[in-house]
Symmetry: D2
Subunit: 309 residues, 4 copies
């Protein structure tokens, strides 16, 4: 029987030293956080890993846009599965618009009248969203009609990435690095509405089956596949399901505040995915109960330091 | 200043009488539950309402399949937005397979070896999933190739519904009643995998833009639009966003265990949607913090009784 | 292997009929709700049961004051373990003050200036709290000094109950019916502050050991002990721990939104208590993930109807 | 209108540098984490602060025992309000017993038979608990009977701390440093049972009013009072209420997974406490939605580095 160790915090110690202390706790939150850092460190340092990241919730508008971009740029992430909203908000910033500091206590009807829309305590100008429609249509016009007849979401997003000039854009960087961004729910977002309005007068058919073929090819081609699952939703499930054809993920980290009791996929513990053949074993798998936008940057810094050593 | 009332529970009283007591509390959970029952009662009794329901989490496998089917059959629900998983599980039962009572404490690797997959404390046989693939392919073959070239998800699901014989199927009943079932994430489910394997050797392009056009047409054509939002995810957001073109929903009820602090759409209070123009005002809108599969049948019974009086 | 059944909701059916349908689901939320109603029905109808209820969170101010009072009056509940806050709010209403309907979006500094204090969307006047201090001191003066030297919380609350005139008070009704109200955290409440100020100039020593002796005596004397655990906190733990001397509770229902991952007692599944000898077996034990103030009145009505049949 | 900044993570950067990046996000989780680190840094570096910490949930057994001990030893914490369980588990380790690494999936009836009790995925031997009773009684015998007639919990815990020899014990260190540990719910714990059994044959009256007088004196005497609130429960409320007499806390950080919608004090946002006069203003107050045992060591390291600069 193993004993629980206690964390020692010393002024000036490195984060990775603290995380090693946390790993030794072996139980509860500290144990899981320590294990997650170790798994992520391995995913970052072992070249055999093909690493997926799934983005649900306001990861991009909520402060992690540069971080995601840098991970792609450094080839620490090989594929992204994102909600339409995260793609939308990358494009908004890519066009020069900014997200605004608000409060969760603001009156929504008053915001509406002022032309502002709210995501918890963060605001977006409706003007920016109008500008996005205009620009998205212009960008679509530059894609050859032949290509628009049957395009995958990752191909479309590469086209958009190519046309953006903002180096902090994860769409742009992904295109530059050849990293696919899959967006199975692209239809269900502000950008999705712009694609739909475009499709009413122009040729545009987005074919998710093309995405899925690419996704499955990537997982088949890889020696090892790892996944960082931020939040739940379709991006989480999509990463898992794409790996079922190869017998499951080799390693996976999930950070979420969703809970399991309701039976939804978002809050399900990763262990459940073993019974579906989507993850191989429970050795390299951990769920952190927490806010992904808060935890992920800290975990990344720890894992980078672990990967280096 | 209004005072908080206290609930009186009497042996033998009707649920709707209790719910009226709860409404009078006006604060906290009871107040919100009472308000939700009243709004739902109005949606059920006022013919001007076009009612949407969104299904995320294991609503169909978790015991509410008949309930959803009956609401469609009685035309209390005019449109459904479902996850691919809920459609998948309706088809599984429609083909004669059953969901099995398990436990959340079972070992997932052992379940895998026994050919069982887990959703919290509910199990599915992998054999049933293999059977679904075969049957889905057979059903697809019966759809004219011309139609398969550019088909909406709701059209595809009507085709499947028509071919099912189980009267408890919500797909079948929806087809019979002309109620569209939108499935923006159909690709991301067990059934979605079957569609993808089919598309590798056969003509099949599912076009979500066709779905969205139908969806927007329905919201535009309606005098009033109401929504019952069970769980979060893409179905929730999709119902909201489809109503932004008409200036927002007139009434909406949400039941979810997701929380707002992370900023994700699933846990966001419905008030936030006002700032996006997706809901009209906060008068007819309420969020119940709870498990949708538990709360919704109770709320429905209360609302039916309220609607009758 | 048992199959999952589906709920049938029919206009005009009784709540207990619906709950029986839910019980047959056997999994997820409906299964747990159905099981809870059955257990509670048994606790209400079998005279061998000595029933405890624990109250944490705003049960009394939030609309369930009459319900708790009636359960005590009908001898369906034999002992209460409450937070100091629930006792405080019963006394406030017992003195004629009312809880006020507010909103969770109000500005707290502005409320402070207006003499109002907030519990989520419910308000209390500071004046009422000042009046409580004055009245509590007057009531304490009427208790013989000899008794005040070493008094249990349940004895003190019987003294207060005797002096209240409001028939809706659960303190008054408990005194009338000889039902003890244990308040292990009485010190930690508004009323607790009044007791402390009184003790600075007068004789008053509250001795929780006397409470615990009474509590253990009750559990020892009973053939069967059942518990309804609303929320977590000290009241939950106290009911559990008091039953460890007799080998554990025979039946227990818990309704809470707290979650287990952090390891706190409030969110722990009741199963954990088996390993501590505080509950006998998992046959008659169920946790409902939900809001206690919303769920409990519905569950009570269902259980009353089940108990009758 | 302020813009949201994006976090930059660089291999080898210090945690405090990362936290400054997070603070600049200003919204959602990263903004709150950054603000919390800044407030804690100020509480650690400004000698005018009298710092309270409240401990609810398995803080001590779950890996933070050394951390709490060190903070007391370095006089960064001036007073503790703990649950009885945290005191119990400090004594268990102080007597040489260890907490054991388990799993949340273990069968509780089987654990019971093996003499093990469970806290989520952490185990305790029942033998250790039996030993605690014997030792606690022996320690109590060494306290003069006169003192035992009317003793505060903090006085009792200083007596225990003095008799412990383990330098990692926070009870021992607190006694050495003259830091009071208040335990308003000491009765409601394993140690509490031992105190009760002792009181059946020996003189022992624990008087929480004496604790509260000491607590209020400390808050009155301080220029500034800050609070670190780990988890909710009675310890949280007790720190808040004790500061109402001085017009409220000057700074406060809360880390919890409890949610506000049910209206319980544990999940309430700290803002609510402003309306009760328990916190002065919202400038130096922040709630982190997360697991306290995971977040607090990281926050402490960041704050120590901020305090140094």
């Amino acid at each position: 029987m193993q004993s629980v160790s206690h964390v020692k915090v010393k002024r000036g110690m490195s984060l990775s030293a603290l995380v090693r202390e946390m790993e030794q706790v072996k139980v509860l939150g500290p144990g899981r956080f320590g294990k997650a850092a170790k798994i992520l460190g391995e995913m970052f340092s072992d070249d055999d890993y093909c690493n997926f990241i799934s983005l649900a919730g306001p990861i991009i508008p909520g402060g992690l846009r540069k971080l995601v971009t840098d991970l792609i740029d450094q080839k620490l992430i090989d594929a992204v599965v994102a909600t339409g909203a995260n793609v939308t908000h990358d494009m908004l910033e890519g066009l020069g618009h900014r997200h605004i500091v608000g409060s969760e206590m603001l009156d929504d009807a008053a915001l509406r009248r002022r032309g502002l829309s709210r995501i918890y305590d963060l605001l977006v100008k409706q003007k920016a969203i109008v500008d996005l429609e205009r620009t998205a249509h212009r960008m679509l016009n530059r894609i050859p009609e032949q290509k628009r007849r049957n395009i995958a979401s990752y191909e479309l997003l590469w086209e958009f990435g190519r046309q953006l000039t903002d180096r902090n854009s994860f769409l742009k960087t992904a295109e530059k690095r050849g990293v696919p961004i899959f967006c199975p729910g692209i239809f269900d977002s502000m950008l999705g509405l712009d694609l739909w309005t475009y499709s009413q007068l122009n040729q545009l058919i987005i074919n998710p089956f093309k995405d899925f073929s690419k996704l499955v090819d990537m997982t088949f081609g890889a020696k090892l596949v790892g996944a960082v699952i931020l939040g739940g939703g379709m991006p989480k499930h999509h990463v898992l399901v794409a790996n079922s054809y190869r017998g499951g993920l080799d390693a996976a980290i999930q950070i979420t505040l969703d809970r399991p009791e309701g039976g939804g996929a978002s809050g399900a513990p990763l262990e459940e995915a073993i019974s579906w053949g989507k993850i191989k074993s429970k050795d390299k798998l951990v769920t952190i109960t927490g806010d992904a936008i808060t935890i992920f940057p800290i975990l990344t810094l720890a894992a980078m330091d672990i990967a280096r050593t």
